[in-house]
């Protein structure tokens, strides 16, 4: 791949006829074939379908009918339904399930002309922060194969970070886009809840699940988001509002090129800069904030007192919804069914015991418990009340600033197996990311430095509801002034 393998760069080369979609797709397939043995980023690759789409993209471009992403090879997280392709959710339960329809965001990217090369590995049913709960084995971090890429969208993040594809989709329920983006040194955007339809996203926690893009740059995320966002009457929580063009917004040059972020108020919550943050992560974030100030932004202190309760609130609400959402995997109509059983109850028991992994079972158990008679008020109802307090905190804070910044994760990528025996330690890796899901706010992570060991560090930005354009603009200006996003992992071309 040429030096600039970003989506925007590839589109320029395609439009200039310097390269064809078929060539780009073949190159992507070759890279995947070479790298996937190590990274395990893909669960399935469909070469034939990908090349057919690439040829169609080339034809469309020749006729002047190319969509905005025509010919760009991308990958979808395997939790998004893709017609005719396996959609496994990283689970034995759906190991042989072929989706009969396209998710809304999948259809949007297809319409834009993007070429789907394959489906990416993920934590089982999007439950995990390290991509180690997948039935198809862990994904490895391109920066250090001994370390995790984060999760649950670890395959998509690793695929983009390793330059296998220029863009990929993910889903973010508690940080599943932003945390792996941070740990693999790329951009990941969790849009406002309701901006991108959940139709065709296999539900983990319905009130939190949010599809979003991974790419190396904010501009690429904007290009992807343009194809993914939009009202969908099939999702009752999808919001009907006028469509924006996120990538076009970034093309407007700043009034003062030396101070492109002049007037931007960046809120720094004391709660995001306290104990428990790795020193090198803190240093990289501090340096990034300094850069933002140099670009004209001012930083203001804000406080999010209730945010310390995010993790407990999340681990009540998400498992509660999951316990119900995953009830449909019962062996009756599709998916795994135990080979032998005594009666109906035994069929359910064996099917689900065999079909689900440990983390999924743990969350189903927690969720079943917190919803059960006599515990509902103490857990689920209380969690919903605290969720509202957290949202109030953000509303107050965002009244005094335009974006809220902090580290995406408390530590850089950790070694495989490091936290698998301690679920709570694993859960705490999402301490800075879950609030955006609980509040529905948009948030993104962008690369802002490296540790001495060469591990990427992410800076997270939150904005008010539907403030995606603002987030992307801040990240874009930052990336125009820095080169963290251009660093290439060892071994990647």
């Amino acid at each position: 791949m040429a030096a600039d393998g970003t989506i925007a760069g590839l589109l320029r080369r395609l439009d200039a006829r310097e390269v064809s979609a078929v060539e780009l797709t073949r190159a992507a397939l070759d890279r995947i074939a070479k790298a996937n043995g190590t990274l395990n980023a893909f669960i399935s690759v469909d070469e034939t379908a990908a090349l057919a789409q690439a040829r169609a993209a080339d034809d469309a471009r020749a006729k002047g009918e190319a969509g905005p992403l025509a010919g760009i090879p991308i990958a979808h997280k395997d939790v998004l339904m893709t017609a005719g392709l396996p959609t496994t959710c990283g689970s034995r339960m759906l190991a042989n399930f072929v989706a009969p329809y396209d998710a809304h965001v999948v259809a949007g990217l297809k319409r834009a002309g993007a070429v789907l090369v394959g489906k990416t590995n993920m934590d089982e049913f999007a439950m995990g922060s390290s991509n180690e709960t997948s039935f198809f084995g862990p994904v490895r971090n391109p920066w250090d194969p001994g370390r995790v890429p984060g999760g649950s969208s670890g395959g998509s993040a690793a695929a983009v970070a390793a330059r296998l594809v220029a863009g990929a989709t993910g889903t973010d329920t508690g940080g599943s886009i932003r945390q792996p983006a941070a740990l693999t040194g790329i951009c990941g955007l969790k849009p406002t809840y309701g901006l991108c339809s959940r139709y065709g996203l296999v539900a983990y926690a319905s009130s939190l699940d949010t599809p979003g893009p991974f790419a190396r740059t904010a501009l690429d995320c904007a290009l992807m988001l343009d194809a993914m966002a939009g009202h969908d009457p099939r999702d009752s929580t999808s919001i009907d509002r006028p469509k924006e063009s996120y990538h076009r917004a970034l093309a407007t040059p700043p009034a003062d090129p030396a101070q492109p972020l002049a007037g931007l108020r960046v809120g720094l919550p004391e709660q995001y800069f306290g104990d428990g943050i790795d020193g090198e992560v803190a240093a990289a974030v501090a340096a990034a904030l300094e850069t933002l100030r140099r670009l004209g932004a001012t930083t203001v202190p804000v406080s999010l007192p209730a945010v310390r309760l995010s993790i407990p609130v999340y681990y009540v609400i998400a498992p509660a919804e999951a316990s119900s959402n995953l009830s449909r995997f019962d062996g009756v109509r599709y998916g795994h069914r135990a080979a032998a059983y005594d009666d109906l109850r035994d069929m359910y028991r064996r099917t689900r015991a065999e079909g689900f992994g440990a983390e999924v079972k743990r969350r189903i158990l927690i969720g079943t418990y917190v919803l059960s008679h006599g515990y509902y008020d103490a857990y689920y109802l209380k969690a919903q009340q605290v969720r509202r307090l957290i949202a109030d905190d953000f509303r107050r804070a965002l009244a005094t600033c335009d974006v809220i910044a902090g580290p995406t994760t408390p530590t850089p990528a950790f070694p495989l197996g490091d936290k698998t025996d301690d679920p709570v330690q694993m859960y705490l890796n999402d301490i800075f990311t879950v609030a955006a899901n609980l509040t529905g706010l948009p948030a993104m992570s962008m690369p802002c430095g490296f540790t001495r060991d060469g591990l990427p560090v992410g800076l997270q930005l939150h904005a008010a509801h539907f403030g995606e354009a603002r987030l992307l603009e801040v990240a874009h200006r930052y990336q125009q002034a820095t080169d963290w996003h251009q660093r290439v992992p060892p071994g990647a071309e």
């Binding site: 009969p100 959940r198 009752s236 119900s324 109906l344």
Partner: protein, 482 residues
């Protein structure tokens, strides 16, 4: 057996008459080949989401307005979680804490207490499950998801009913109402209208006894029999020193008994929680007003109007407003008849209702229309035929001997049933009867009053019922000097 008071509350599932399902676009039509009317949402494929059918909400609003209930400006869909093969999602979308319809009443006529208003607790929207088919699968179970996602309105009454007969009166009134306002076809054979009965007994004045719930009663007769059996069972149990256990029971119509299905102890924990896929259902006043504007005259209003306008007794007015068709039929007949409305009411509640019951059809399908009945009543009014002959004519009309407005006249003419009012003819007839029955005449003269009636009967019989009975009477009296 001392005195026991029976306490009954009903939960009724009315299938709403929408073309498509409550959360998907699949058809709700009955009787299609298995699983041909199950969309991705009904099968609960991964990734699909429910979208509320506003037609189902509109029908719930109609119902709420018709029973004088509160239409909740904001109600919430909840998930009721349990595993069963014909429940594809592993949960049923229903309403739990905040239902769309709250309160309201259904007026009924109790055989023992007269007119009473049965209070409703609530009515909420929910989806139906599919069907498990246990036959024809050689030890396996077949699943048909055509019914999954069919919209239901579950209507819950307060425990205001005091007998099986009252429960049936309530169920019939409710059945009539949901059809009246066009929200449910009421087809009980197809399961469009089915009841669960909560039954308990107590000594009068005592606190409520422990209740049992009898599930899925899909005919008025089963409802009545199941409750009667259950009351007997509970009373006998208590009088034998036992206690009633709270449980769910099933009625077996073949054996006419109820049997335990599951007890309260093994009742499921449904883990209700608000469905995050569906925002709260918001119904603004404008929507309610639009629905109200489209409502037909309701049974209570029509009943009051019938009493006032046609001077009908309350009973007649109630019976004639059991369905919208019945009320309309009555008014059409009154208009065509032009005579006493009470005469029309008598005929509708007598001959017409009896014939409908025998044929097991609704008034809309009756072979005799309102104009045809009016044509018959006119002939009674103008003395062409007697009431007795009119019944014969009615039967012939019902059997299809003649149709249309002039059916009665055609039959009267063809059968020669015109009443004999010719004074001379009747006199001749009476003379013949007197001559032929000298013994009876002698009895009469000896003071036996009943002999007179016997002579009237003989004269009427001789005329084949056609002689004007009043004239026969008068002439006989004159001739006998009575």
């Amino acid at each position: 057996m001392g005195e026991w008071e029976v306490v009954i509350g009903l939960e009724t599932h009315a299938q709403l008459s929408t073309v498509s399902k409550i959360f998907s676009g699949a058809s709700t039509a009955f009787g299609a080949a298995p699983n041909t009317q199950a969309a991705a949402v009904d099968i609960a494929l991964p990734g699909v989401l429910p979208v509320l059918n506003r037609g189902a909400v509109e029908r719930a609003i109609r119902f709420g307005l018709a029973v004088g209930a509160t239409i909740a400006p904001r109600s919430v869909f909840a998930r009721k979680n349990y595993f069963y093969p014909d429940l594809p999602k592993g949960y049923q979308i229903s309403q739990f804490e905040i239902p769309v319809v709250q309160g309201g009443t259904i007026p009924i006529v109790s055989p023992t207490r007269g007119e009473i208003a049965v209070r409703l607790t609530r009515a909420h929207l929910e989806e139906d499950a599919g069907k498990s088919l246990h036959e024809d699968f050689h030890g396996m179970t077949g699943i048909d998801l055509n019914r999954a996602g069919t919209p239901l309105l579950e209507i819950v009454s307060e425990p205001d009913l005091r007998s099986a007969a009252e429960a049936v009166a309530y169920a019939k009134a409710l059945h009539g109402l949901v059809r009246w306002i066009g929200i449910c076809d009421g087809n009980m054979q197809e399961g469009s209208f089915r009841c669960d009965a909560n039954v308990s007994v107590r000594r009068p004045g005592a606190p409520l006894g422990t209740r049992c719930e009898i599930k899925n009663l899909n005919s008025f007769r089963f409802l009545e029999r199941a409750i009667e059996y259950e009351v007997r069972r509970q009373v006998e149990l208590i009088e034998d020193g036992g206690t009633v256990r709270q449980e769910t029971r099933l009625y077996d119509p073949d054996r006419n008994q109820t049997r335990a299905m599951r007890s309260k102890e093994d009742a499921q924990d449904y883990r209700y929680f608000p469905d995050p896929d569906l925002p709260p259902l918001v119904i603004d006043r404008a929507w309610v007003e639009r629905v109200a504007a489209g409502l037909p005259e309701l049974p209570s209003a029509m009943k009051a109007r019938f009493e006032a306008r046609y001077a009908l007794p309350a009973y007649d007015a109630t019976m004639l407003t059991q369905s919208r068709e019945m009320g309309a039929w009555f008014e059409d007949a009154v208009r065509a008849f032009g005579g006493e409305a009470k005469t029309v009411a008598n005929w509708m509640l007598g001959e017409v209702s009896a014939a409908l019951n025998r044929a097991e059809i609704d008034v809309g399908a009756a072979p005799v229309g309102p104009a045809a009945l009016a044509g018959l009543l006119k002939r009674i009014a103008d003395g062409t035929i007697s009431t007795k002959i009119a019944k014969e004519v009615f039967d012939a009309m019902w059997a299809g001997e003649a149709t249309g407005d002039g059916a009665a006249d055609a039959i009267i003419d063809r059968r020669g049933l015109r009443q004999i009012s010719d004074e001379g003819a009747i006199e001749k007839l009476v003379d013949d009867v007197l001559a032929a029955n000298a013994a009876i005449v002698a009895e009469f003269r000896a003071g036996k009053e009943k002999a007179f009636n016997s002579l009237v009967g003989k004269a009427m019989a001789a005329s084949k019922g056609k002689a004007n009975p009043a004239q026969v009477n008068a002439i006989l009296k004159r001739k006998l000097g009575a």
